[in-house]
């Protein structure tokens, strides 16, 4: 497997259904619980405490963005968070998380943070998501909405540097 094949395999993930699915309304009151759920699962499957904190942060940023940008702060629209526990395959414990919504579709290339040198309040969430996860890929979902695929291994698999993937 070359690097791009390996990344594609990580993005695609396992064939079986998710180990855990959270289907929540786009209500900000559920954000803390969703983040805590993922952090707890990450801890229990053995991710390092740094990785747990990073995954929790990425999920939180991604869900905030779905609510703010995808649903324009509507609080009653559906969000699905699917979680796969990735078995140890020589690269340590890992999680694959897919977040889907039914919001308006946007060109994935338009989902990007601001220039970090230009200090302004916003435009940081996507940078953080990409930086802390090994894989972070947006795509349009069929027939409506967006899908974000996130993968985090405790140690990056050889040939997949988080920095390279997240850049």
């Amino acid at each position: 497997m070359n690097e791009s094949e390996r990344r594609e395999a990580m993005r695609r993930g396992p064939l079986h259904g998710p180990d855990l699915t959270l289907n929540m309304r786009s209500d900000p009151r559920f954000l803390t619980g969703a983040r805590g759920l993922i952090a707890s699962v990450a801890e229990k499957i053995g991710l390092s405490s740094t990785s747990c904190a990073q995954v929790a942060l990425a999920i939180d940023e991604a869900l905030c963005n779905v609510i703010r940008h995808g649903y324009k702060k509507r609080s009653d629209a559906p969000i699905w968070v699917m979680v796969w526990v990735l078995a140890d395959e020589g690269v340590g414990a890992g999680l694959r998380i897919v977040i889907e919504d039914e919001a308006e579709q946007v060109d994935p290339s338009k989902i990007r943070g601001r220039d970090l040198a230009d200090v302004r309040p916003g435009g940081l969430g996507v940078h953080i998501i990409r930086e802390v996860m090994d894989v972070a890929e947006y795509e349009m979902r069929s027939p409506v909405g967006m899908r974000l695929t996130l993968v985090k291994y405790d140690r990056p698999s050889p040939g997949v540097e988080p920095a390279a993937v997240g850049a």
Binding site: L31, Q54, H127, I128
Partner: protein, 114 residues
């Protein structure tokens, strides 16, 4: 400005400085409330605002954005904004966002008031 489940905020005057001490988390639902506290600190026309983050276990980018806004007010009005007591996770958010060199960040509240 009723406190929400996630966040409690104290504000006190120490000499010419105003010290804002939030406790809990500053995430999506708490950012609006925290922004109001930062404006209130600004309105006291201090020479320095110290934000003591020792009691903040978690912050995400909506929280960071309120501090960037506060920094912009501080620069415009020529007073100092000093952040103290960040835990590792909070600090790493600032680092990823490359804001660790933009803000004045110190270890403790005492350092911030020195």
């Amino acid at each position: 400005m009723a406190d929400q489940p996630g966040l409690n905020v104290r504000m006190e005057q120490v000499g010419q400085a105003v010290v804002v001490t939030p406790e809990g988390e500053i995430a999506y639902t708490e950012a609006t409330q925290f922004r109001q506290w930062m404006r209130k600190a600004h309105d006291a026309s201090p020479e320095r605002i110290v934000v003591d983050l020792t009691g903040i276990e978690y912050m995400n980018t909506p929280g960071v954005a309120t501090l960037v806004e506060a920094l912009q007010s501080a620069k415009k009005n020529k007073y100092r904004l000093v952040l103290a007591g960040m835990n590792t996770n909070v600090r790493s958010v600032f680092e990823v966002a490359r804001l660790n060199t933009v803000f004045e960040i110190v270890q403790t509240r005492e350092d911030a008031l020195a």
